[in-house]
Amino acid sequence: MSRWRYFFRRLLLSVPVVLFGLTITFVIVRMGPIDPVAAIVGPEGGGASRGRIEERLGLNEPLWQQYIDFMVNMLTFNLGQSWVIQPGRSVESLLMTYAPRTLWLGFWSVLIAICIGIPLGFYAGLNPNTKSDYLASFGGIVWRAMPNFWLAIIILAVLRQSERFFFGLSWQSLGVSNNLIGQPPLDFIAFTDWITVGIISIPVGVYFSFSTLIESIKQVMPAAIVLGSAAMGNEMRIGRTAVLETINSNYVETAKAKGLRDRVIVWKHVFRNALVPLVPIITNEAFILIGGSVIVEVIFGINGLGYLFFQAAVQGDLPLVGSLMFIFIVLIVSINILQDFLYTVLDPRVGYE
C-alpha cells in the first residue's frame, strides 16, 4: 500500500472514531447515573422549572431523538451554553476566555520538554555507559515516575522559600515580582486597529508589552515544567535509544571510514535520523497535556480548560461537559492525523501493511 493511500485510510477512519467517541460521551452524560436536570435546577427547584429546563435541553423527547439532536448539534459546532457554572453564557465565549491560558501553558510545557529532554537524551546516547549517562538516565526515570500533583506542590514549596534554598535569591522578586499562584496575564499582545479590505480584516495597530510577556512566561513556567515532566523523561529515554541505534548503523560506519569529521557525522547523519522516532512521542504529549492539565491548573490556580472541565464535572454542568468533551475529541483526533501526516512525509522507509 502506498504511503498516501495509508494516510487517507487513516483519515477516513477518523470519522467513525469521532462519531463513536461522541456516542460514548452521550451515553455518559445523558444515560449516566446523574440526571442532568437535577443539578441545574438544584434541590429547591419545583416541577415547573424542571419541566421548562427539560424542554429546553430536549430531555422530554425519546432517547433516540435526543441522541440524533446531540450528534447533529455537536457535529455542526452548535455547542450550546453553560447551565450551572456561568448560566446562559455560550460555550464558544467560554472557550475564548479559557482556552488561551491552557494553550499558553501547553505551548511552554511542550517547548521546555523538548529543549531539555531531547538534548539530554542525545547527550546520554552519544556517551553511553558513562557516569553522566547513568546519571541522566536514572534522573529521567525518576523524574518521569513523579506524580504531577506531588511534583507541583513540592515545586511550589521550594519556590516559596527560594531565599533559603538558592542563597538569598528569591523567585518571587526575580525579574518581575508576581504571585506563585494565579493565571498568567495574556494581554501582552493586542490588536488595536483593524482595517477591512473587502471581507478580510487585517490588524494594523499592534500593542505589545515586553514586561507583561516576561511576567506571563515567569508565571506559567513552574506549571509548564510540572506538566511537561513525564514527556521530558520519555523524550530523553527515546532520544537516547534512537541515537544509540543510529550511531551503530552501517551508514555511520561508512561515513567514519570515509574520514568524515566527527562533528559532521553527528550533526548530519545521526541527529537527523534520530529525530524520526521522537515524532510520535512529541505528538503523544498533547494527549497527556490535555488530560493532565486539570491537576496542574487546579494546583497553580490557572483558570484554563482543564479547570473549567473539572468545575463543570463537579458541579454537574453536564451539557457543558459534553461540549468540552467533543472539543477534546476533535483536538486529539486532529493531532493524530497530524502525526500520521508527519510520518508519511518524514519517514519514507516504513512500509505500511
Binding site: 477512519l13 477518523s14 467513525p16 472514531v17 469521532v18 463513536f20 467517541g21 456516542t23 460514548i24 460521551t25 455518559i28 449516566g32 447515573p33 446523574i34 526515570i141 525518576v142 518521569r144 515516575a145 513523579m146 506524580p147 504531577n148 500533583f149 506531588w150 511534583l151 506542590i153 513540592i154 511550589l156 514549596a157 516559596r160 522559600q161 513525564a230 514527556a231 520519555n234 529515554r237 527515546i238 535509544t241 510520535p280 512521542i281 503523544n284 494527549f287 497527556i288 490535555i290 488530560g291 493532565g292 486539570v294 491537576i295 487546579v298 482543564g306 472541565f309 473539572f310 464535572a313 463537579v314 454537574g316 461537559v321 468533551m325 477534546f328 475529541i329 486529539i332 483526533v333 493524530n336
Partner: protein
C-alpha cells in the same frame, strides 16, 4: 534426570518415583505455613467474605433485571427476562466450572459424535444444565440450608484457627506500652522501647517473607533438577537474564517490599488501622500520666499528637505525649502516618492490580480474537479502541468517578470507591494494552503451526489458548507492569482532587492533599513521604517491566514508552 527424550510420565508419576526432594521441600512449606497459620486463616476468612459478597451481588442481578423489565414491559416479559439472565449467568459460570473443575470431556464419555465446534457447544450446554439443577436444588429445597450450615461451620473453624498466635503478631512483639518515670518501659516486648520493638517486628516480617521467597526459589530449583522432563528450556535463559539484570532486580525488590508491606499491613504498622484510623474513639490504650497508669482512647490521644506545623508537630521517628512511637510522624489529625501509608499501600496495590488484571484479560482476549479472525473484527476493535483513546483518559476517569460518586451509585460504595476506580481504569485502559500486543499477536497468527492447528480441526478457542496466548503472555506481562504504575498514580491523583478513595479508607493521594499546606513548615513529612513512596513504587514497576522485557526478548528495545506513561496524566 530424564532417561530418554520422549518421557511420557506425568509430573505426578515422576514425583512418585523419587519422592524424597519433594517431601523435604513440602516439609519446609508446612513449617513456614504453621508459623503464620493464624494470619493465613484470617486472610482466608476475608477472601471468603469477599467472595460471598460478590456472589450475593451477582445473584441479585436477575431479580433487578426482572424488576426493570417488568415495570416497562409487563409481568410475563419480566419473568422471561429473569429466566434469560439466570441462564446467561449460569452459562458464564459453566465456562469457568468446565475450565477449572472438569478436566475430561463429558461429550466423549457420553459417546456423542459431532464436529469439534458443535462438541464444545454441547459440552457447555450440559454443564450449564447441571448448574441449573444444582442452583434449583440450593434455592428451592432444604439442600440450601444444609449447605449454609456447612459453610458457617467451616467459617467458624477457620476463624478459630485465625486466633492462633503467629510469629509476626502484634501481641508477640508488642510495641505498645508506657514509660515509667525511671525510664524503663512497661508492656512492650522484653521491655524494649517501642521504637526498637516496632523495628524488630518489621524486621521479622521481612525476614519471614524473604525466607518464603528463598524457599519458593528452592522449590523451583528442586523441580528443575529432579522432576522436569527437559534438562534445559528457553525459560531458564530468560530467568538467568533477569537474575543478572541489576535494574530489573532492583525493580523486583522494590515491588516485593511494597507487596510485603501491603500483605502484612496490620503487622508492620505501629497501631492497627481499626484502632487508629477507623474507630479511634472505641479503642483504648494505657499510658503513664500524672496520676500513674491511665487509659485513654486513641481518638483523644490523637488530638494531642496533631502535626500542623510550628510547635504542633510529631515528626519523623519520634514519640508523642502518650508514649506512642510514630516512625513517619503523624498526619494533620494526629493519626499515625506509617499506619496510614501501610494500609494505603494495600489499597493502591489492590486497585492497581485489579484494574491491570481486568485490562490485561480484556486486551489479551481481544488481541487473540482480532489476530485470529482479522478483517472486520479487527477494524471494529480499532475504531472502538481509537474512540476510547480519543477521549482524554484522565478527564474521562475523573468524570466517571465524579458522576458515580455524586449519584451515590451502589458500586461506588464497595471498598469506599475502590472497586469503581478499578473498573473505570480497566474500562479506559484496555485500548492502550491491546495496541501494544496487537503486533505480536498478528505476528504469531501468521505462523505455520496456527495453520496446522486449523487444518487439524482444532477449535478456534483452543488454538488461541494453546498456540497463541503463551506467545503474547510475555509481552502482556511487560506492558501490564508498565501500566500498573500509571493506574497507581491516577488513583492517587483522583484522591488528591477528592474523588478517589473516600475517607476513612487510607489512600496516598489524600495524605498528600491533607499535608500540602504544611509542606513548608515543620510538618513537611505528611505530603512529602507519600509522594516519595509513589515515586519509588512506580519506578519499581517500570524497572521490573524493563527487566522482564530484556529477559524475554533481549533484542527488543524501548519501543513503546507511551504505554506506561499514558496511564498517568496525574
Amino acid at each position: 534426570m530424564s532417561m530418554n527424550e520422549f518421557d511420557d510420565k506425568t509430573l505426578r508419576e515422576r514425583i512418585a518415583d523419587n519422592p524424597q526432594p519433594a517431601l523435604a521441600w513440602l516439609a519446609g512449606v508446612l513449617v513456614l505455613v504453621a508459623l503464620e497459620l493464624g494470619r493465613l486463616a484470617s486472610g482466608l476468612v476475608q477472601v471468603g467474605e469477599t467472595t460471598r459478597f460478590a456472589l450475593g451481588g451477582i445473584a441479585s442481578v436477575p431479580g433487578s433485571v426482572e424488576e426493570s423489565v417488568a415495570s416497562s414491559l409487563g409481568e410475563i416479559a419480566g419473568l422471561v427476562a429473569f429466566g434469560l439472565t439466570v441462564l446467561v449467568l449460569l452459562g458464564i459460570a459453566a465456562i469457568l466450572v468446565k475450565w477449572l473443575l472438569i478436566p475430561w470431556t463429558l461429550v466423549d464419555r457420553l459417546g456423542i459424535e459431532a464436529s469439534t465446534g458443535v462438541k464444545d457447544i454441547i459440552e457447555r450446554v450440559i454443564v450449564t444444565g447441571l448448574l441449573v439443577v444444582a442452583a434449583a436444588l440450593v434455592v428451592l429445597t432444604p439442600v440450601g440450608g444444609v449447605l449454609e450450615m456447612a459453610v458457617s461451620a467451616l467459617t467458624r473453624g477457620v476463624e478459630w484457627v485465625s486466633s492462633l498466635p503467629t510469629i509476626t503478631s502484634r501481641e508477640l512483639i508488642s510495641n505498645e506500652g508506657y514509660q515509667l518515670p525511671d525510664g524503663s518501659w512497661e508492656g512492650t516486648f522484653l521491655g524494649l522501647s517501642p521504637a526498637v520493638a516496632w523495628a524488630l517486628r518489621v524486621a521479622v516480617v521481612y525476614a519471614y517473607a524473604l525466607v518464603w521467597l528463598a524457599w519458593l526459589w528452592r522449590g523451583y530449583e528442586t523441580f528443575r533438577e529432579h522432576y522436569r522432563e527437559a534438562d534445559w528450556t528457553p525459560r531458564d535463559d530468560s530467568i538467568n537474564r533477569l537474575r543478572n539484570h541489576y535494574w530489573g532486580m532492583f525493580g523486583l525488590i522494590v515491588v516485593i517490599m511494597f507487596l510485603v508491606m501491603a500483605l502484612w499491613a496490620p503487622a508492620v504498622s505501629p497501631a492497627t488501622a481499626e484502632a487508629n484510623l477507623y474507630q479511634p474513639y472505641e479503642h483504648e490504650f494505657e499510658y503513664y500520666g500524672d496520676d500513674g497508669v491511665e487509659s485513654i482512647t486513641h481518638g483523644e490521644a490523637n488530638s494531642d499528637s496533631r502535626s500542623q506545623g510550628g510547635d504542633t508537630n510529631v515528626g519523623v521517628m519520634s514519640y508523642d505525649n502518650h508514649d506512642r512511637f510514630h516512625p513517619f510522624g503523624t498526619n494533620t489529625d494526629g493519626k499515625d502516618l506509617f499506619t496510614f501509608l501501610a494500609y494505603g499501600a494495600q489499597v493502591s496495590l489492590v486497585i492497581g492490580l485489579l484494574a491491570t488484571v481486568l485490562m490485561a484479560v480484556i486486551a489479551t482476549a481481544l488481541a487473540l480474537i482480532t489476530a485470529y479472525y482479522k478483517g472486520v473484527t479487527d477494524l471494529v476493535t480499532i475504531v472502538a479502541s481509537d474512540s476510547i483513546i480519543s477521549l482524554p483518559r484522565f478527564l474521562l476517569v475523573l468524570l466517571l468517578s465524579v458522576l458515580f460518586m455524586q449519584a451515590n451509585h451502589p458500586v461506588a460504595e464497595i471498598y469506599d470507591g475502590g472497586l469503581l476506580l478499578a473498573l473505570i481504569f480497566a474500562g479506559t485502559g484496555w485500548p492502550l494494552l491491546w495496541r501494544s500486543v496487537r503486533g505480536p499477536a498478528l505476528q504469531v497468527s501468521e505462523q505455520e503451526w496456527i495453520d496446522a492447528a486449523k487444518s487439524y480441526g482444532q477449535s478456534p478457542a483452543a488454538t488461541m489458548r494453546k498456540h497463541m496466548a503463551p506467545y503474547i503472555a510475555g509481552y502482556m506481562l511487560i506492558y501490564a507492569s508498565l501500566s500498573l504504575g500509571g493506574v497507581i498514580i491516577g488513583v492517587a491523583a483522583l484522591s488528591f482532587l477528592g474523588f478517589g478513595v473516600q475517607a476513612p479508607t487510607p489512600e496516598w493521594g489524600r495524605a498528600v492533599y491533607e499535608g500540602q499546606s504544611y509542606i513548608a513548615t515543620s510538618s513537611w513529612h505528611i505530603a512529602t513521604l507519600p509522594g516519595i513512596l509513589v515515586v519509588l513504587l512506580v519506578t519499581g514497576f517500570n524497572a521490573l517491566g524493563d527487566g522482564i522485557r530484556d529477559a524475554i526478548d533481549p533484542q527488543s528495545e524501548a519501543s513503546d514508552g507511551a504505554a506506561g506513561a499514558a496511564g498517568g496524566g496525574g
